[in-house]
Symmetry: C2
Subunit: 317 residues, 2 copies
């Protein structure tokens, strides 16, 4: 296995896992996770979204990690340890006035998620966060559906920007390790001055394998979540990355502690992981929303019916 | 993705899955599986073990797929379709007198599982099955624990034998895609006249990824099981292989039918898959028997305790 000393692990359990349980994590849960991740040597914990509730209607019932408030975060994590804190924002959902200068905020890193056609708006936000002192990443979603020409144009804009890291995001969990290899090669060729990150989903049981493939080809920032918790099929599991990255700074024990005390009981109540409707949207390279709706229906285990709905013209209607 | 026209899929649901439920599959289950696998284009169905109950004491309670009887199999599969039938034998557990000439047997393929120090005995059995007209494979288990020198010696014996296919078996589910690439390269170099097979386990969520890696480097026979059913963490899922191998002869729908009607209800009663104690034996490159015992204990979800038992000298005791 290649040298892994430049790798950084970003645990997204609260942010991406919040998409499963509407961010209904207790303060104790988040504090225990922070302690465990720090002991395990994890580099960053993504503690939620820094979107504005004013700009995202209908989310009033969501837990506090959906709309992070700096004072609240400082109360929760009173003693910051080696593990840094990260937040994600979406285009059009962030209020500039909510973003304090970094020295007044508990956050270290702000990541901007965008689709390929939003790169210009995303880079404006990146510039703002950069100017206020934060580390920044640009997370390009749904790359499996992006055409070659669109990507070339994006590379030019990104090269000229201040962003620190550019992410390959396999939003639909549809990419194979070979696809990851091709994408990483392309990103490294066109973005020689940027670091690269990878955020993989587990629809085809390839979340970990694709993250390893990315790491083996020079991707430095590796996203994951404890016990794989994340929307639909979930993410690359943090415990697998910790166990396999050959780096003395990481240890898996503290994350097993978190799994034992919090994740196994939570998985009894909430659902994520390798579940056939998510496998089907992954193989069809589609957003999992149809599968999520199907899992909420009485027919949730009628997997052949779901497959036919998405693939047979007559059933599709 | 590479050309896949030479690939053959061997579904091991009954044989390897039997290790989960003591081969307690109904005749209807096995008949429905055979119908579905045939419609899906799967090349072989491994319908059980052809060991002798006289040579394996204490297994009297096992279902009939543990000790296949040719007349029984012929009764179950009265109309053989395109999907061929396979059985596995273990060294020292097979009675030569049970092996009919192929033209009198419903079986097409007999596979011999062995550890590296049993290759000579395994090749004697292979010769016997070959002489009676069967296709044969040699399945070398626990390759992650085999030393270079042992393997070189084995390659010589295998090259001189009549065996058709030699299998790379990741018994402990501990190998990474890079390891698979190295092993496949070595096997192909030293066994140029043999075809290669791969049987992977899912302890580290790499069953499918490792099978793909093997397939991409020229491995032709690919083992799997429906919904991943197999001992401990289970196998590469058949449905993922069918969905991703770019070959018009395969279709995933019939296997989704099997999952909907039989596998999802069965998974409610029996346990296999990505379960942390199996992940731990995989990362430690150990047989899963300690994890299987732990999962039967009251402490089954105390995953940190289990990890410490296997890794901390004081706890190991």
């Amino acid at each position: 296995m290649k040298d892994r000393t430049n790798h950084k692990i970003i645990d997204c359990t609260i942010r991406d896992g919040g998409l499963v349980n509407n961010w209904d994590f207790s303060v104790e849960f988040v504090q225990y996770l922070y302690k465990c991740l720090n002991e395990a040597g994890v580099d960053y914990m993504e503690i939620g979204y820094k979107n504005s509730p004013k700009l995202l209607k209908g989310s009033e019932s969501a837990g506090p990690w959906r709309f992070l408030d700096d004072d609240f975060v400082r109360d929760v994590i009173q003693n910051k340890l080696a593990t840094k804190l990260s937040a994600l924002v979406d285009i059009g959902r962030v209020d500039e006035n909510d973003i304090l200068p970094r020295e007044k905020s508990p956050l270290d890193l702000i990541r901007v998620a965008c689709y390929i056609h939003e790169i210009d708006k995303a880079l404006e936000l990146v510039q703002l966060f950069h100017d206020r002192g934060y580390e920044t990443t640009l997370n390009i979603m749904a790359l499996s559906n992006v055409k070659e020409g669109q990507l070339d144009e994006a590379f030019e804009m990104i090269s000229d920007s201040v962003v620190d890291v550019v992410y390959i995001v396999d939003s639909y969990g549809s990419l194979m390790p070979n696809d990851i290899h091709c994408l990483v090669t392309k990103f490294r060729k066109h973005l020689q001055k940027k670091r690269i990150g990878a955020h993989m989903h587990n629809n085809l049981q390839l979340g970990f394998a694709n993250t390893l493939e990315a790491a083996n080809h020079g991707v430095e920032l590796l996203d994951c979540s404890v016990y794989g918790m994340g929307r639909a099929a979930g993410n690359c599991p943090t415990e697998l990355l910790l166990a396999q990255l050959k780096n003395v700074k990481y240890s898996v024990g503290p994350v097993l502690d978190m799994i034992e005390n919090y994740m196994i009981p939570l998985r009894e109540k909430e659902e994520w992981g390798y579940i056939i409707p998510y496998m089907i949207t992954g193989m069809l390279d589609e957003h999992p929303r149809s599968a999520m709706a199907f899992r909420r229906s009485a027919a949730k285990d009628k997997v052949l019916q779901f497959y036919n709905m998405l693939t047979v013209p007559d059933v599709k209607g």
